[in-house]
């Protein structure tokens, strides 16, 4: 499809360099991307393809070169300028790498589409029209209600495409859209793109891909390596330039010389087997059931010793699950498997030493060096201590890792990491290797090197290899392959026999035919994308603030919250449980204190003194003390909180009027409690004195202070009455802040934050939209706590309900705002948890006056107490619960508290980046 029309380039890049730490992703890149064409970006992982695409989409910040000559212009807009970027971003659509990376997996197809359509400002009828059109064209219309997380890989990518196309972009940027998708879905995906382009000829498409066969169909190719463009041109031009016929070969020919020299064509010597060759793995009717979902459905096969057996299929077809069953990681629901003739039992340790396993994701310890990883695995597999060094050295040498032995795996390129994984799997000389997609994302040179190692292992060392892949050229090297789809094995045979059985030209075609016969693939292929131009011109929503976009985020967040009931339940139930526990548990009144008396007098008067104490509700008398040493021993054990020592001749001396001293020992281990005991004992001592004075001396004189104490607001000094109004501010701060912070950081971790970067949504709309559902949840939480306080704890709300609710509303807006603020500078969920918990508990418990009044604090603690809304809400809550106040009494505090709301929101707004940091 040669395009003759010459237009201005859709994107111009000059002097673009991008560094991440010490790695160079892009190195002084200069390129022009022609408009109205399908442009392919080719190269292995880690050569800067994704960085370049993220920059072109406006998602990532541009690192300006020192000389200031860096320039990135897309659709005529300079992307370094925020204003121009915002203007042009509605015309660009971006699908990041990874299946469904920018989708919300708990949301249905329809909900995802509605979300994106609202972000681009379409009204309800326009949204309906576009969604119906796009889903009809992609065959998703039958699955509108299905959660995105339950779609197959190919369908996820189609949904991603629909979401990208919903706003009629001029430029479509696709980052490896077909990685991990089965060949049928892949071919359907490209047909779809072709149809869309046919109807919208001015649409420019930029695609990054690792599949050379796909790239052959593009108009224009850019071959990248090491952050630079090695060559560009149409596929035909590239073939001509390198004198090759297929792109794989062309790519290798274009590589720098030193890389090219590492490459050798993989030769697979034929497998020599006879009837006596033992069977390494046998599976019979193996099935795996997860709830209603059958992941693996009655799979049977036999793999002979020394054979390379390939498993082919899309992501999620059951390959990994089958492999996990064979390693003993998952117990099979039905069926049986045999390893080396022995029935497979998951708890059988001895067979594990004969198997090496390499899982799909790179899963070695990134904190251990290359060498440490190898040594650890060797030891855990019980390689004899004497031969560990030699074995590790051999592995390092054989897999070409000797020079990197002290590096951490993260510092290695992907291809080398895969070799390390293989080395680790081989370190104990297993007879069987189970490799789950070991070559995903690895460049062709490294992939061929890896395969050479596998072939050597199989043919020279007679290691049986069971490998899964979705590269057809790799499948062709296997002795036999199984095609898998939706949990079933479609066919098992040699690659040649499979091609022959479908009369196909190549394996991919044969696979597609098998898939079609199995009823795979979505049917509605003929419905076209009817109108390229929308009937209603998209009314461009305000670039500054749009309620519709805010609402779009808010309603999506609400849906997600509803789909994850555990989060909401933990928040609501958790706060009630905490209130219950703490309300009952924290008591400030000290009672039931154990005391004992060492009575050296044993007179009537001395016994009377002791009874005076024992009679109060605060003290419980323990068996009497006999000696000074016993005081020491029993106080040390913590049994006694108080010991009294009454001296000999106590009664006699009193009646004579001689001075007498009573000794009281208080356990000072808990200073708070000791202070209280001190007060009690002194009070009772005075009480006893005045009683004695009355009785013995006949005078009616009180030795007590004559202070009549009235405990206001809480006459019985019940902890609960005081603590419940204090707990509500604490819980209403901590939990909403935590949930809000997590909701944003989760998007960062899962990748959907990209939608903030590349859609017209503004930072304010994003923040408020995320905040709104959590404000509602927090208000619900508040009402529940209030209900529990009034009914369960019988703490009456004596003041105004309206005033309390109004204050609670202002307060939760602050609390959720604080969560947003915490989320702007945390990257991982665990960090967000720590920051929001420490950032709320400490001020609320220590500085807000919960235990110690703000006026009693000093220094920075006092300052925090005076500024933090928790202090004000605490005094409002106490005033309304205990002191029968109403709105006009508390409005100064309410006003003071309200001031903090714009402060946190503006700070969060200022700190939140609208682009990924470059």
């Amino acid at each position: 499809m040669a395009v003759t029309r010459q237009a201005a380039p859709v994107a111009i890049v000059r002097q673009l360099s991008q560094h991440y730490g010490s790695t160079v992703a892009l190195d002084e890149l200069d390129l022009d991307i022609p408009a109205g064409q399908m442009v392919g970006l080719l190269g292995p992982d880690g050569v800067g393809k994704s960085s370049l695409l993220a920059i072109l989409a406006g998602a990532r910040q541009i690192q300006q070169a020192a000389n200031g000559k860096t320039e990135v212009t897309v659709l005529g807009a300079n992307l370094a300028k925020a204003g121009e970027r915002n203007r042009v971003c509605p015309q660009i659509a971006y699908m990041p790498q990874g299946l469904g990376k920018n989708l919300y997996l708990s949301l249905s197809v329809e909900e995802n589409l509605q979300f994106f359509a609202r972000l681009f400002g379409h009204d309800a009828s326009e949204r309906r029209r576009r969604i119906d059109e796009l889903t009809a064209a992609t065959g998703l219309s039958a699955f509108l209600a299905r959660p995105a997380g339950q779609l197959s890989g190919g369908m996820k990518q189609k949904l991603g495409l629909c979401c990208a196309l919903i706003h009629d972009p001029q430029l479509l940027i696709l980052d490896e859209p077909t990685t991990g998708v089965d060949p049928l879905a892949r071919s359907q995906f490209w047909q779809l793109i072709q149809r869309i382009r046919a109807q919208k000829p001015d649409l420019s498409v930029i695609v990054a891909t690792a599949y050379m066969d796909e790239a052959g169909r593009f108009d224009h190719l850019l071959i990248m390596h090491g952050g630079r463009v090695l060559a560009s041109g149409s596929p035909a031009q590239l073939h001509q330039q390198t004198g090759t016929t297929d792109l794989d070969a062309a790519f290798i020919a274009l590589l720098p010389a030193e890389l090219r020299q590492q490459h050798h064509q993989v030769e697979v010597p034929p497998l020599l087997t006879d009837a006596n060759t033992a069977v390494a793995i046998a599976a019979e009717q193996l099935s795996m059931q997860f709830g209603d979902f059958t992941a693996v459905d009655r799979v049977s096969f036999q793999i002979r010793q020394g054979e390379i057996f390939g498993f082919l299929g899309s992501n999620g077809c059951g390959k990994s699950t089958t492999m996990k069953m064979l390693t003993g990681l998952l117990p099979a629901s039905h069926g049986q498997a045999w390893l080396f003739g022995q029935p497979l039992r998951p708890d059988d340790i001895s067979t594990r030493t004969r198997v090496g396993y390499m899982s799909q994701a790179f899963s070695l310890y990134s904190e251990l060096t290359v060498r440490q990883n190898l040594v650890l695995h060797a030891r855990l597999f019980h390689v004899p201590a004497a031969s560990i060094d030699a074995r590790v050295a051999l592995m390092l040498q054989r897999f070409g890792l000797t020079t990197q032995q002290d590096a951490l795996p993260e510092q290695l390129p992907l291809g080398m990491r895969q070799r390390l994984s293989l080395a680790v799997a081989m370190v104990h000389q297993p007879e069987l290797l189970i490799l789950d997609e070991p070559t995903s994302g690895v460049d062709p040179v490294a992939r061929d090197q890896f395969w050479q190692l596998l072939v050597d292992l199989a043919r020279q060392d007679k290691v049986t290899i069971f490998i899964s892949t979705h590269f057809m050229n790799e499948a062709l090297r296997c002795d036999r392959i199984s095609l898998m789809h939706a949990g079933k094995v479609l066919v098992s045979d040699t690659p040649a026999a499979i091609i022959a059985s479908q009369q196909a030209t190549d394996l991919e075609q044969a696979f597609i035919r098998y898939l079609q016969q199995a009823g795979a693939g979505e049917q509605t292929q003929n419905a076209a994308v009817s109108t390229a131009a929308p009937t209603v011109a998209t009314a461009p929503a305000s670039r500054h603030f749009s309620w519709r976009r805010l609402w779009s985020y808010a309603s999506r967040e609400t849906l997600e919250l509803r789909r994850d009931p555990i989060r909401g339940a933990l928040a609501l139930l958790g706060s009630l449980v905490l209130m219950l526990f703490i309300g009952y548990g924290i008591t400030m009144d000290v009672a039931n204190l154990n005391f004992a008396v060492l009575d050296r007098d044993q007179s009537l008067l001395s016994r009377h003194y002791a009874q005076n104490l024992a009679g109060s509700r605060y003290f419980i008398e323990r068996p009497a003390l006999q000696s000074g040493a016993e005081i020491d021993q029993r106080m040390r054990s913590g049994e006694l909180a108080l010991a009294l020592e009454i001296p000999p001749n106590f009664g006699r001396d009193i009646s004579r009027g001689d001075p007498v001293q009573i000794g009281a020992w208080i356990d000072g281990a808990m200073p708070n409690r000791a202070e209280t005991i001190k007060g009690y004992v002194q009070g009772m001592h005075l009480h006893w004195l005045s009683q004695q004075a009355r009785e013995a001396l006949g005078t009616n004189v009180s030795f007590s202070a004559g202070v009549e104490t009235r405990f206001r607001y809480n006459p019985d000094v019940k902890s609960l009455v005081a603590m419940v109004p204090a707990m509500i501010p604490l819980l209403l701060l901590m939990i909403p802040a935590l949930l809000t912070a997590l909701s944003v950081v989760r998007e960062k971790e899962l990748g959907s934050i990209i939608n903030l970067y590349v859609t017209p949504v503004t930072k304010l709309e994003f923040l408020l939209g995320k905040q709104l559902p959590y404000i509602l949840l927090a208000l619900l939480n508040y009402l529940l706590m209030l209900l529990a306080a009034v009914t369960l704890f019988a703490v009456p709300l004596t003041g105004s309900f309206v005033a309390l609710t109004l204050s609670a509303l202002v307060y939760v807006v602050f609390a959720t705002g604080f969560g947003l603020l915490a989320s702007t500078f945390t990257k991982s969920q665990i960090a967000a948890i720590l920051v929001s918990v420490l950032g709320t508990i400490i001020p609320a418990v220590q500085f807000a006056g919960m235990i110690t009044p703000v006026s009693a604090l000093e220094g920075s603690g006092r300052l925090i107490g005076l500024l933090h809304p928790a202090s004000y809400f605490l005094s409002i809550s106490r005033g309304l619960f205990n002191k029968a106040l109403n709105l006009q009494d508390i409005y100064p505090a309410l006003l003071a508290m309200s001031l903090a709301v714009p402060v946190v929101l503006l700070l969060a707004l200022w700190l939140l980046p609208k682009q990924e940091r470059g």
Partner: protein, 375 residues
Amino acid sequence: MTSHRSNIWRLGQKELWSLWRDPVMLLLIFYSFSLNIYVAATSMPETLHKAPIAIVDEDQSPLSGRIRSAFYLPYFLPPVQISLNDVDPALDAGTYSFVLNIPPDYQRDVLAGRTPQIQLSVDATRISQAFSGAGYISQIVASELNEFKQHHRINTVLPVDLVLRARFNPNLTSSWFGSVMEVINSVTMISIVLTGAALIREREHGTIEHLLVMPVTPGEIMLSKVLAMGLVVLIATGLSLTLVIRGALHIPVEGSVLLFLACAALQLFATTSMGIFMATVARSMPQFGLMLILVLLPLQLLSGGITPRESMPELVQQLMLVAPNTHFVMASQAILYRGAGLDVVWPQLLALATIGTVLFILSLRRFRATLSQLA
């Protein structure tokens, strides 16, 4: 047997390496056992510290003046004289915790041998100050009154003196208590976070799957985590006790540090098992975080480390006997404050060992049962 031990040893080494290369966790451990303790010890005010008090003096006599001047820092803020009408609004707004009302003709009545009543209004929502503060104020007024009476030879005072002495902490310095209790809180929190997060991280990185295909048993994997993380926290505890509490804060520690560390080791056995258990229940980091709060707060607040156990409702006291923290707090208080020895704290040690064993077995069973979901 030897292979078990060597597997645990290798896996434990790996845990330590992983932790060593995780700066965030290291920082968290460092902060919890150093700065955090220091701040908790130095910022914790004494029970009655700068309590705000106001006085309505309707007498304006020498005696009432004497009472007014008896309230001073650091226990009370300088008393503010207010009028009777201001009392209710000021208490409503929470400006003062205490308002003392000296009635008219107070001194005259005292000199006449009557017992006039001074009224003390306490804001009982300030529960921590209400009790001890009211007691203090009564004491102060009483002693001023007695001195005044003696001065005027109104009557004889019974010559019985009460000599109060606080044992183990003679000046009742709050920081002694707060700092050590903060160490205990850190031990609990860090050990749960470390083991739980380590397991969740292995799950997220897919390395747990790798371990499971190796000839190591789930028991070995779990024991290695429990031992490695326990060791780290134990060392941090020992350092914190010697360098921060004794060194920087100059707080005397009465009893045997070694015995305390033995207690801490048993506590760690229980809490690290708890961390594993929580990590198998939680499906993601956010859930783990929420669960952490739900578990940590009751553990810290109700174990007797903040308020005395005997004042809690019976039910709470009984329930909290199941928590390892309760026994750990009891034993630590006995050892560190009162210098108790093994003869005194053995019941707590036994309880800790029992709880730890039960938790370990429960976690191990749960860990085994959920392994297939972890991979």
